[in-house]
Amino acid sequence: MSAALAAILKRDLKLALRAGGGAGIGMIFFLAVVVIVPFAVGPDLPLLKRIGAAVLWIGALLASLLGLERIFAADHEDGSLDLLFLAPLPLALTAAAKAFAHWIATGLPLVVMAPILGLMLGIDARSLAAVTATLLVGTPAVTFIGLLAGALAVTLPRSGLLVAVLVLPLAIPLLIFGVAATDAAVTGEIPLGAPFRLLCAISLFFFVLGPIAAAAALRYARE
């Protein structure tokens, strides 16, 4: 079973990273979102430092939305989704492997980029570490929510905007506790503190719910 999961992971990573996969576009988008903020609020470093963690979170959240609609739609178009149905694996596990591959290709680079962009916003080292930690926990959950939205919209052409509209309300708790945990890292008594634990809890919740609900949605879409 783990061999099959590894095969799916490897295949999706290859598809994402090779030409036409579009893994890098999220990083460019993240950079663009973070760069336009100082233009909008002015190059005021104390202000940017204060809102920096929130800017990084918004940028990473928006960048994570890109390409979610392709997780299943691409497989649906070329027929490989039917093969995944026939695979001797629970469909939820297959979906989880695909989400994980998608996150490694698109989400992990955002987490790696965040501290570098944070330097441009004048964020200090402690907040940088905190925002990176919260993004590391939070962005996979965004991908797993997006897995469900991608499965719901699997048969639709041009569903990118719909997927974004479906994901954002469900991702709001992640944003709230992600930014709250980053603030708590600087001001709170316990490093990261309760908001970080709540963020972890919400992420774990979506790691379970996302694949199960996505598998159900895919089954119903095939009927």
Partner: protein
Amino acid sequence: MPLSELANPHRFLRRARVLIPALAVFALVLIGVGLVQGFRAPADYQQGEMVRVMYIHVPSAWIALAAYTLMAIASLGTLVWRHPLADVAAKAAAPIGAAFCLLCLVTGALWGRPMWGAYWVWDPRLTSVLVLFLLYLGVIALWRAIDDPSRAAKAAAILTLVGFINVPIVKFSVEWWSSLHQGASVFRLDGPSIHPSLLQPLLISAAGFAALFFALHLAAMRNEILRRRLHTLGILAAAEAEAR
């Protein structure tokens, strides 16, 4: 069990023809009585006349939550029990619930400005109700995006059930977090904490809002059934014309 009996759309339509006008009249009378009593009720000792917003704000909030709960139950009906009218009920409830949710948000803003000094604050209760509104819009968008009704029904049902997590968050947000919004004052273990002179018009108004919701919901369900029939008739007519 009347629910299984209503699985026949024809029987449903026959009942709806009687129920819709009855509920509509009932709603008008109750809301009228509730609002008139509400305006005659004594003003609040702190909030003065502004407390009267409550007779619209609170019932619409209840209906917004109840409509989403109804959609979640109907979604179970679609996915688990495969009741033929469950998806019609879920689809018809979404725009009506969204409208009541918006009414709740707008009246809340109008109430908040004189009382809190701001139309909007990013308070847990307000934010979670806003998320409820966004979820309503997401469900409606998904319904409209998929043109095959039975496929759209199943996708919307799964989304509705996932979004149902938000309903208890709305309800308990005032207890879990420190909130500017007041806590529950009607449905409490130790009984309502508002004075009977204000509570009575509130409950009458709420009953009227519930009747209004069901009248609108049944009418929307009837329209959806008729719309699907028309669609089928159109296809049949086109097939006939082609055969000729």
